[in-house]
Amino acid sequence: MASNAISNQLPFTKEFKESLFLIPEGENIQTCLQCASCSGVCPFGFAMDYPPGRMIAWMRAGILEEMLQSDSVWMCVSCFACTEICPKEIPITQALMTRAKEEVLLAGNVPAELQSALEFSQQYGNPLGESSRKRAAWTEELDFEVSIVRKDKRPYEFLWFVGDYASYHPRVKKVTQTVARLFHMLGIDFGIMGPDENSDGDSQRLAGERGLFEMLAEKNAKILGRCEFNEIVTTDPHAYNAFKNEYPRLGFEYPVRHYTEVLLDHLDELTPKLKDIGPIRVAYHDPCYLGRVNKIYEAPRQLLQAIPGIELVEMAHNRSTSLCCGGGGGGMWLDGFRWEKAESRLSEWRIREAVTVGADVLAVACPYEPPRFEDATKTVPGAENIQVKDIAELIFAAIEN
């Protein structure tokens, strides 16, 4: 039925459409009902000239060429809300939106802030433009040694893939150090790649730079291939997603777990150490790439519930309907662009939900989130006293208390 409409397609539209079929489940796109659920659930749908549903309609009409001139695809935060809700199981995020970004990027239509993050990723292996030699500098403030796997050659239980923001961002670095302290305290055997670690590349991929993603993945795989370890652990859901779902497509397969899962394994050891830090109301924000994309909803909640004095509350959007912080799909590098387009921030929306449920603390589990949400608490009325804490920070506070 859908194919009948595509008769006089222009060359780009035709090629673009066919390229979608190469992606797993991509052919489902032909079964689109035009129910517009995708555009409706999209947190930035209101600010897009071409929300996903309309893109499909225009593709059918053979007039998608104009999309190349529009920059509205840069509003997509790759949060998977559309994919999750689609009744026809169309891989909207993986296929349609990501491919569209690739084409717009190839056409040279790249916002300047994104361009600089991509160039930094190429040059330094991280989007922040920080020296790769300083990637392990966060370990210097710890009172124990963290092994760098290539220097200290031996088999490790865990290869900890630290990630970009977790390594360099001053706020997120504190979370990373806290996780290291917890691992150390629990006797978890781990090593890091240090200066050899490159960005996992997943957000760059979702921002339309597949080639860059592949380059970064190859660099990481080259080092990982020379190390001995049982599993990868990471605090970064984007890195988790890369290792779980994307690296295997390139032939690089490693078992990977999120740090919340690893800590949960040690819950019996942790529980006696945890003291009452309450009473506090804690709302947990499901990171898109931990929850909706990879279905890890319970491990973070179980950890939080193990902390005495915490009352866990749920915000309006939770678990599979969680609301993106705005950092995904290259969003970390498009804040200015998106503000101009939409004049609203997803992080503020989320913080308003935290205010509504009367949360004292917004608990997070992704390195993109502490700085984004902390910023938002400064602008949302009533959020002045909301603290943004990574789950690891709450656990550590309960141990220290």
Binding site: E102, S131, G208, L212
Partner: protein
């Protein structure tokens, strides 16, 4: 067809720490991380802009260094037609710009370009700027601090930047060499997939630089890191505390 030659070089990346070689008279090049000279990147962009506007064949020439192939392939992905790597350079020692200019001039003479574009300066050029030296050896006029070029017949019309925002529209007889301060549009992004495609299709010609002088005509007595003695008084504390301290500084200055 208009022939444009761009000279593009890699320079020390100032994001990284720099180290002095044990001799105390040069940079420790084994420790150096290199990056494209930002002004050369603008020169490449300006060449491509001219090509797109009025047609040209663009040749990019770069002295060999770690990472130079990536830079050349990425120029090709932007639209450069011919890529040349100048080989046979000493990895430990930087050649003087005079000897590099002599080598480049010999090579460029054969290409016989209408226009040479290069960055107006490079951060490690102790032995003068490269562009004007190449221009002189080829008997071409040189104008630097250019932020826009168009070609009209045998003349280049170029905007030269003066302090205070004053611009001079220059008329320069071709062939000529221009030192680029900024391209008309910021350098474009080229997807890695396009660069990778160039890696398999584009050809980098390797041409020997010949014997280059690394000693120079003046003696460097000492190379060193600047003294950090006169550093600013750092305001410390939480952001709140710093804001309070700064506010009282502003008050003391009579600004509030």
């Amino acid at each position: 067809m208009t022939e444009i030659v761009v000279i593009a070089r890699l320079v020390p990346d100032l994001v990284e720490e720099l180290e002095i070689a044990p001799s105390g008279k040069a940079l420790d090049r084994s420790w150096l991380r290199l990056i494209i000279n930002e002004f050369d990147n603008h020169a490449i962009e300006q060449a491509i802009i001219i090509k797109e506007r009025s047609g040209a064949k663009v040749t990019v020439i770069s002295p060999d260094a770690e990472g130079v192939e990536d830079m050349l392939y990425s120029s090709a992905a932007k639209g450069a037609d011919r890529l040349i790597k100048l080989t046979g350079l000493d990895e430990e020692k930087k050649p003087t710009n005079k000897s590099l200019a002599q080598s480049l001039a010999g090579l460029i003479k054969e290409i016989n370009p209408d226009l040479i574009l290069t960055g107006v300066q490079a951060n490690d050029d102790l032995t003068g700027d490269l562009g004007p030296q190449v221009a002189d050896l080829l008997d071409m006029p040189y104008v630097g601090y250019i932020s826009g070029v168009s070609l009209e017949g045998s003349t280049a019309k170029a905007l030269k930047e003066y302090p205070g925002g004053l611009l001079a529209e220059m008329e320069i007889s071709l062939p000529a060499a221009l030192g680029i301060q900024a391209s008309e549009e910021p350098p474009r992004y080229v997807a890695i997939s396009k660069v990778r495609q160039m890696m398999s299709t584009a050809n980098i010609e390797e041409i020997s630089a010949g014997e280059l002088d690394t000693e120079g005509e003046f003696t460097i007595e000492r190379m060193y890191l600047p003294e950090a003695a006169e550093k600013a008084e750092m305001l410390e504390g939480s952001e709140e505390e710093i804001a309070a301290q700064l506010t009282s500084v502003l008050e003391d200055l009579g600004l509030l």
